[in-house]
């Protein structure tokens, strides 16, 4: 029988889904700004992308506050413990319904691979995409800030690289959302807060 534990609090779920929508929307508009396809039109795509960016910034102000006041930031401290077992599980065990090597609890809700993946997002992708995005937004102020030597081409280059990393993360993330106790248990948890875990 499965046991149910409360993992994702209300704000966390709100943060996750609103952020998900914003990131999907920013990928959609961002790749249009990059010239990959035409959907909204360049001008509208640029403006929508900018609005979404500022919305995401606001969301993050709350999210950072929340993580610090609740101490939930500790969930992202990386660990190498059981990483090998996790990898082995995804490569073999998952196919044979072997037991999950990681026991999810309220204080340790992310498995070691998740922690590493999120750390990669937080430490590599986000800084890259936020910094370059910030420079992109304030192109006109580079000179005043002492960044007159920057070139838009390089800022755009790294912004695009970060965008591709985000796209890849997004694909893997969605798939791994189905890799819980049942196919939908992770997704349900992200909606209701309650996760079904193995006894």
């Amino acid at each position: 029988m499965a046991e149910r534990i409360y993992i994702f609090k209300r704000f966390e779920r709100f943060w996750h889904w609103s952020q998900a929508l914003l990131i999907i929307f920013m990928m959609l508009t961002g790749f249009e700004v990059h010239g990959v396809y035409s959907l909204f039109g360049f001008q509208a795509a640029t403006e929508l992308h900018t609005i979404a960016a500022w919305t995401l910034v606001s969301l993050w102000v709350f999210a950072i506050f929340w993580h610090f006041t609740t101490g939930e930031w500790k969930q992202y401290i990386p660990t190498m413990e059981k990483v090998d077992q996790m990898l082995k599980f995804y490569l073999t065990g998952i196919f044979t319904d072997a037991p999950h090597p990681f026991k999810q609890t309220t204080v340790r809700k992310h498995n070691p691979l998740q922690r590493l993946a999120y750390l990669f997002v937080l430490a590599i992708i986000n800084p890259l995409i936020w910094t370059t995005g910030w420079f992109y937004l304030f192109y006109g102020s580079w000179g005043n800030w002492g960044f007159g030597w920057l070139s838009l081409e390089w800022v755009a280059f790294f912004h695009v690289i970060a965008a591709f990393m985000m796209l890849i993360f997004f694909i893997a993330h969605i798939y791994l959302a189905t890799a819980g106790h049942t196919v939908t248990s992770h997704i349900k948890a992200m909606i209701t807060g309650w996760e079904e875990v193995e006894d």
């Binding site: 010239g35 360049f42 640029t46 929508l48 070139s151 081409e153 690289i161 796209l167 890849i168």
Partner: protein
């Protein structure tokens, strides 16, 4: 809510640069100007609301005794003018409008209309009687003209408000004083110019007076510049937001301000970048006032258009705000091939061939032409430095010769991307000496090309006239001239849309040194990025498929 579908930018920009000599309005030629220019309603021509009793000017020239005489010619009028305006001629004597002579202080090149060679009618020397219909003087018919004569300054050509004053080619800057058939062989006759009426009605310059020459550069209406033609005499807001006759109704002089008859703006030393902000009244700043920034400032866009301010480090205002030139429906000349001149009809007489839109496509005197209108400009980096190919410059006939080459680059810190009209031609040159040539076109009865159709004789005489060495061997060289596009500023709803540049192969395709989001993709990164994303997708799908089948098998 924010609006996404707007097309416009917030401010339309001022028009810049270009000045010169003026030639009078042609009231008798049906079209210009639409408002009826009678002496009493004279001020109407330059857009001042006329009250019959109280005029804006403090002087009613019709009341001056000096002007209540029957003038025998133009210089007689000028004598009357300078009897009150004692310094006027001396001021004009210092200007390019008068001297057609100009030395660029930076490049030391000797320029000015009488010195440069272009790829339209090519050169002035030996053709003065014809060309000086656009000179602000009387009687410049050869190289012995007295540039110190005060009475030879033509006041009326710029200050006429009646539209009844017109200098005709061939009269060395004079209007006709007797009845004259015009155009030649047309069967139409121009009555003698009513100098008294014109003199009594003088006023400020207007789009019509400036345009009499500047709209007709290159030999006719709309020919040369592309952004200046007679449709600007009475334009609507779509043609030019500032000159809109029913709106702001700017005269040329609103931007091309003048001081002691020296008019702001120059094509010899254009201001390609003005980053000094608005030019405030009383300022001691003596920079060119005929720039967009001089009125609109460095940060002209606000609110939803604020992002546009971040384009001004690379783009001239004109690049977005003038989406096309020749927008007044008139055709501007795009090419001129002199090398085909001289072909005669069956009777051995010179001929003209007209195209479907009434434009001359071939003329035995001049060769072949092409025209266009609503033309999308060609864009170039430009820092205001222009290097001319002059009469003594050695040319390379194996290449297309840039008669005036626009300097500038993305890296020099003082260039902007400018819209330009590039006029292409094929013209005579000295094959032996590899130089451009002076050609006798109109004046000299024995050698003038347009009378004798012998290019060798015409060039030989022109070169001799100008005191130039000539090998005797005339060849044809392909040439290009660039003209900055700065007039015909569109209203904000008609500016160039973002996607016209922010797209692959957009308007600025091929311009070096700029990264345009949406236009210059990063092909390698895009390929690698999408490949990686695709492989990730394939990977998870395979993983999922294995999970599915294993699970099913395992029951």
């Amino acid at each position: 809510m924010l609006k996404f579908n707007y097309k416009g930018l917030s401010l339309a920009m001022a028009f810049v640069m270009s000045l010169g000599i003026s030639w009078s309005v042609q009231a008798s030629d049906a079209k210009a100007p639409d408002k009826v220019p009678t002496p009493s309603a004279a001020a109407d021509v330059f857009g001042i609301a006329v009250d019959e009793k109280v005029k804006k000017s403090t002087a009613d020239h019709s009341k001056f005794k000096e002007l209540q005489v029957d003038f025998k010619d133009g210089p007689a009028v000028t004598k009357a003018c300078i009897s009150c305006h004692t310094e006027a001629s001396k001021q004009l004597h210092k200007t390019k409008h008068w001297n057609w002579d100009y030395i660029n202080a930076d490049t030391k090149q000797h320029l000015g209309k009488k010195n440069v060679i272009n790829n339209f009618c090519t050169s002035v020397p030996s053709n003065y009687k014809f060309c000086t219909a656009c000179h602000i003087g009387y009687g410049w018919e050869d190289d012995k003209f007295d540039f110190t004569a005060e009475e030879k300054v033509d006041c009326l050509v710029c200050h006429d408000t009646t539209g009844g004053y017109k200098k005709l080619p061939g009269l060395a800057g004079h209007p006709n004083y007797k009845t004259m058939e015009w155009p030649p062989h047309s069967g139409k006759f121009r009555p003698p110019t009513d100098l008294k009426r014109v003199a009594q009605s003088v006023g400020k310059t207007s789009r019509a007076t400036c345009g009499a020459c500047h709209f007709r550069g290159g030999g006719g209406d709309a020919v040369k510049h592309g952004d200046l033609d007679s449709t600007l005499t009475n334009p609507d807001r779509h043609l030019d937001i500032h000159m809109d006759a029913k709106g702001l109704d700017f005269s040329c002089a609103k931007c091309h301000t003048s001081d002691s008859h020296e008019v702001a703006g120059s094509r010899y030393e254009p201001t390609a970048v003005d980053d000094k902000g608005t030019l405030i009244r009383g300022s001691k700043d003596e920079r060119n006032a005929a720039t967009c920034v001089a009125c609109h400032g460095n940060v002209p866009h606000s609110g939803e258009f604020a992002k546009m301010n971040e384009h001004t480090d690379k783009l001239a205002c004109q690049t977005c705000h003038i989406p096309a030139y020749a927008r007044g429906d008139k055709h501007t000349k795009m090419t001129w091939d002199w090398s085909t001149l001289g072909e005669m009809d069956e009777q051995g007489k010179p001929k003209k061939i007209w195209g479907s839109e009434g434009k001359v496509l071939y003329d035995s005197k001049k060769g072949n032409f092409t025209y266009d209108r609503y033309v999308i400009p060609e864009y170039q980096w430009f820092n205001g430095d222009v290097e001319f190919t002059l009469a003594d410059t050695k040319v390379d006939p194996t290449k297309v010769l840039k008669i005036n080459s626009f300097k500038g680059s993305p890296d020099d810190g003082k260039s902007r991307i400018w819209p330009t009209k590039v006029f292409r031609g094929k013209q005579m040159f000295d094959k032996g000496n590899n130089t451009l040539v002076i050609t006798s076109l109109s004046d000299d009865p024995k050698t003038a090309l347009w009378k004798n159709f012998d290019i060798n004789k015409a060039v030989e005489y022109g070169m001799q006239y100008a005191g130039r060495d000539f090998s005797g061997d005339v060849g044809w060289i392909e040439t290009e001239m660039s003209w900055p596009i700065t007039h015909m500023v569109a209203p904000k709803e008609d500016v160039v849309d973002c996607h016209q540049c922010h797209t692959e192969n957009g308007r600025l395709a091929g311009i070096e040194g700029i990264y345009i989001p949406g236009a210059n993709n990063t092909p390698l990164i895009d390929k690698l990025g999408f490949l990686a994303a695709f492989l990730t997708l394939v990977g998870v799908l395979i993983h999922g498929a294995i999970r599915y089948f294993m699970h099913k098998r395992g029951g």
